[in-house]
Subunit: 476 residues, 2 copies
C-alpha cells in the first residue's frame, strides 16, 4: 500500500466519519496539524483531503479548513438483503447469460463486467520471463503431464502459503485444477448427486449456479448481507428442514457483493457444518486481494473434522488464461483426485511450472502487494464515481478486498434494461438477474473494478449514472 | 516414411505372405532381381529381408536365397474377441487403476504402459520455438482468456484439417477443450443423465470407463474385433433391446486393440446411429497416426443428420502436457459449449496459441510425417520382440496406426500377476483387467509403443516374455 499513503489516510478519516467520531458539520484537523503530529508531508495530507472532498464526504470552507459534509455515508446504506424463497429449486439455464458472455467479447469498450484482472494488473513481463525460463530449463518437462495431482513444487508452494491464512495444508492435501470453477465443480461432484440440494449465498456468482445447473442439482439460496456475508440463522433453518448435500460459501470478498465474514461468523459456520455434517465448499479465490491489514483467514482454519473443501486459483491474482486453480478436498480428497483424472487428467503443465517458479522466487508476493494497491485505488474510484453520478438513493457495497462492488438502484427498475442501453454505448456491467435463480436481484448490478483504467472509469460511470437516471425518470 | 524404405519393402512382402501370394516354403525374389527391377539399393533390399528374417517370417537358405517360413502369420491369429455380458452394468471404480496410475510415475523404468509420445516423439524444439514466438508477439494475449469456444485461429485450422478426413467442419462447429478425455466427458454429459446406458467397445479404454463411472452412467459393452473394430450386429441388437443414450467408438486405431473400421462398416455404423437416433461419440485421437496410405476417414463423413460428436486432441500428436483437445458437437454443439464453460471456462491460452501457430505454419504436418515413421518402426520392433520372446501361442494385434498393440496370452493366466512381477524389474504395461467392467480381458495386456526407445524394447520384452513363460509354467 506504500504507493498510496494518501488513500490510507483518507480511508482512516472515512472510518472516523462512518463510525461517528467526526460528525456531519464538524471540523477536521488542519492540514498543518496532521503534518506536524503524524509526520506526513503536507502534499500527501492535502491529497487525502481532496480525495475525500471529491467523494463528497468533506467540504472545504475557504480560509477555515475542512468539514464533514452532510453526505456522510451510512453503514446501513449498503445494498439490501433480498430474502429468496425458502425452497430448493432447479436452476434453469438462463440463455441471457450466454448472450451476455458472448456480447462481452464483441461490444464492450469499457468493461465493468469481467471480474478478472485487466492487462495493467497482469504481471505480463514477470510471467513471460518465467515462462521463458521454464522452457529454457527443460522443454520436455513443459510438454509432458505433471504428476496426477499436479506439479509437486506448485503444490508445495500453495501448501506453504496456506500457513498464512490458517489452512495448514501439506502438498498432498492439494490437487491442481484447471481454474477455480473446475475445483468447485469437482467438489460438487464429490459431494452431491443428480437431484440433490446444494445451498449457495444469495446473491450468488452465476458460474456456481451454472455449474449446479449443469450437474442437475437443486439449489437453495441463503440470503447474504453485502457486508457480513451469509446469514447463519437462515442457513441453520435450511439445514434443519432439508437434506442439503453441500454448501458453497465465499467468506472473503464474495462475488458479487464483496462481503467479508467476521472471524466469529467463520467459526460459527464451520461449527454448523460439523454439527449438520454438510460439506462446506469454500471459494477463497479473492482471499489474497485484501486492501489493508492482514490476509483474511480461511474457513479451513476452524475445520477440525475436515468438512471444508477449499477452492481457489491464480486467475484473479496472476492471469486467467493460465487456467490453474487448486482444491484441498479434506475428507473428499481422494474422490476429487479421481474425478479430476476422469474429467481431463491434469492441468496444463507450462502454466503450473510458471506459477510454481513465481511462488518459489517470491515474485508472487511482490506482485500481490502492487496489485492490491492498484485494485484498491480502482475500486475507490469506481465507488466515488457511482456516488457522484448515480441516482440519489443508490446503495453501493464497500468491500475490503476483491474485484467487485454490488449496487442497488433506488427504484425497482430493471438493470437488464440499463444493461442494454449501456452496451449500445460500449459500457458493460453484469445485471443482477444473473446472481439468483429467481429475479430477486433485478434492480441490482455488479461492477467489476479489475478491467477498467482510471481514465475510463469516471466518464463511463457518468454516462451509466445518467442512463440509470433516465431509466428511473421513465419508470416514474 | 522416406527414412524407412526397407520397412516399406518388408511390409509389402509381409502382405504378400499374409494374403498367400507367397506361401510357406516358397522362394522370394532374389535380392539382385529386386534391386534391378525396382531400382532399390542392394543394401536396402537386404535390410528388408533381414528384418523379415528377424521376425521369423522368412528364412535364409545358404547360397540359395530367402524362403517363406512355416511361421507365416495368420490373419486369424489376432487376439480373440471376448463376448461380454449383454446387459448394462454400473462401472465400479477400480482402485487398481489408481494404484497403477501412481506406480507408473514411480517405478517404471521402461514404460509400455503410457499411450503418449515419449520425448523422442515430442517436437520439443518446435514447440519451444513457437511458444517463445507467441510470448514475443503479445504476452498479454497469452495471459488472457481466449474466446469462449477457444482461440479462433486454432478452431479455423482444425476445421481446415477436417477436410482431409471427411469432417467438413467450420470453425464454429468446434469447441476447444482441455484434452480429448474432457471432450468425451462433455459429450457424455450432453447426451446422457445419471443412470442412463452408454454403449462402449469391449475392450474399452479405461479412461472412458472411468468417465462413465464418474458420471454415474451405466455401461454396456459391445464386442470389438482386434482388426475390424466394433461388432455392428451386436450393437444393433443392443439398440433394439435397451434405451442406449450414447455410444463411444474409436474407429481409427482404437485403444487398446488398434483396430481400424472399414469404410463400409463406418457407413453402416452411422446408418445405425441415424436409424436408432443414438448419439455417436467418435474418439478420433489416433486418426492422424496412420502408418501408410492416406488419413482414415472420420465417421463424421457419413453423418448427414449430425448425430456424430467428434472428439480429438493434440496429446498424441504433439504433447500431452499442453492439454488441448477439441469437440465438434454436431446437434449437441450448444449444450457442449455451455457445459465446457460450466466446467472450467476455457482451455489454457498459451497452449492453444502455440498449436494454432504450428498448424498455420505447416510445421504440424511435417512433424506428423516424421512421427508416423517413428511410431511405425517402434511398433514393428515391439511386435517383433513379442513374437520372438513371448510364449508360444501368444496373439498380437497388428494395427495400421496409433500407439498400442493388444496381446492375448496363450493360457488364461492373470496379466495382473505378470504386471506385478514385471514392475519389480521396472517394466510397465497395462493389464487387460482395466479395459472392461468385468474381468473378461484378464489374460490380455496392452503394450504402448510411444514411450519406449529401440534400445529398450528388445531387452525389456525379452524379460517380459520370460516372465510370462514362467507364469504359464507355474500355472500348468
Amino acid at each position: 500500500m506504500a504507493n498510496y499513503l494518501y488513500l490510507q489516510i483518507a480511508q482512516r478519516i472515512e472510518e472516523h466519519i462512518e463510525n461517528g467520531t467526526y460528525k456531519a458539520g464538524e471540523k477536521l484537523p488542519s492540514v498543518r496539524s496532521v503534518h506536524e503530529e503524524q509526520g506526513i508531508s503536507i502534499s500527501t495530507v492535502l491529497e487525502a483531503y481532496h480525495h475525500l472532498e471529491d467523494r463528497g464526504l468533506i467540504v472545504a470552507q475557504k480560509k477555515s479548513g475542512y468539514y464533514v459534509s452532510g453526505r456522510r455515508r451510512n453503514k446501513e446504506q449498503v445494498p439490501s438483503q433480498v430474502i429468496p424463497a425458502l425452497k430448493p429449486e432447479s436452476v434453469v439455464i438462463d440463455s441471457l447469460l450466454e448472450t451476455i458472455m458472448q456480447e462481452r467479447f464483441i461490444r464492450e469498450v469499457v468493461s465493468f463486467s469481467r471480474a478478472i484482472p485487466g492487462n495493467h494488473l497482469i504481471p505480463g513481463k514477470i510471467l513471460k520471463r518465467n515462462m521463458l525460463e521454464v522452457l529454457r530449463i527443460d522443454e520436455y518437462e513443459v510438454m509432458n503431464y505433471t504428476q496426477l495431482q499436479g506439479n509437486d513444487h506448485l503444490r508445495n508452494e500453495i501448501a506453504k502459503r496456506s500457513l498464512g491464512w490458517g489452512g495448514m495444508l501439506t502438498a498432498k492435501d492439494i490437487c491442481v485444477t484447471s481454474g477455480c470453477l473446475e475445483a468447485i465443480h469437482l467438489a460438487l461432484r464429490a459431494t452431491a448427486q443428480q437431484g440433490d440440494i446444494v445451498a449457495v449465498e444469495s446473491p450468488c456468482y452465476y458460474g456456481f449456479l451454472e455449474a449446479i445447473q449443469g450437474l442437475r442439482l437443486q439449489v437453495i439460496e441463503i440470503p447474504s448481507h453485502a457486508q457480513t456475508g451469509i446469514d447463519l440463522n437462515y442457513l441453520e433453518d435450511v439445514y434443519k428442514q432439508y437434506p442439503v448435500k453441500a454448501c458453497i460459501v465465499t467468506p472473503n470478498f464474495s462475488n458479487p457483493t464483496g462481503s467479508l465474514m467476521s472471524e466469529s461468523n467463520k467459526k460459527e459456520l464451520v461449527a454448523l457444518t460439523t454439527r449438520y455434517q454438510v460439506p462446506l465448499i469454500e471459494d477463497d479465490i479473492y482471499g489474497e486481494l485484501y486492501f489493508q491489514g492482514t490476509r483474511p483467514t480461511s474457513l479451513k482454519m476452524y475445520d477440525k473434522e475436515d468438512w471444508v473443501i477449499v477452492c481457489s486459483s491464480f486467475s484473479k491474482t496472476l492471469a486467467p488464461g493460465l487456467r490453474v486453480g487448486w482444491v484441498a478436498g479434506g475428507r473428499f480428497r481422494q474422490s476429487i483426485e479421481r474425478l479430476k483424472f476422469m474429467t481431463n487428467i491434469a492441468a496444463t503443465t507450462v502454466a503450473q511450472l510458471v506459477i510454481a517458479r513465481l511462488l518459489e522466487a517470491g515474485s508472487f508476493e511482490r506482485h500481490l502487494k502492487r496489485m492490491r494497491s492498484k485494485l484498491f485505488l480502482q475500486m475507490t474510484e469506481v465507488q466515488a464515481a457511482v456516488e457522484a453520478y448515480f441516482p440519489e438513493g443508490t446503495s453501493i457495497s464497500h468491500p475490503q478486498g476483491g474485484y467487485v462492488v454490488w449496487i442497488e438502484l433506488p427504484e425497482k427498475v430493471s438493470s437488464m434494461e440499463l444493461y442494454k442501453v449501456a452496451l449500445q454505448q460500449g459500457i458493460g456491467f453484469t445485471p443482477g438477474h444473473l446472481f439468483s435463480t429467481g429475479m430477486v436481484h433485478s434492480h441490482f448490478l455488479r461492477l467489476s473494478c479489475g478491467s477498467v483504467t482510471s481514465e475510463q472509469t469516471e466518464q463511463a460511470l457518468k454516462t451509466l449514472g445518467q442512463l440509470a437516471k433516465e431509466l428511473i425518470a421513465n419508470h416514474q
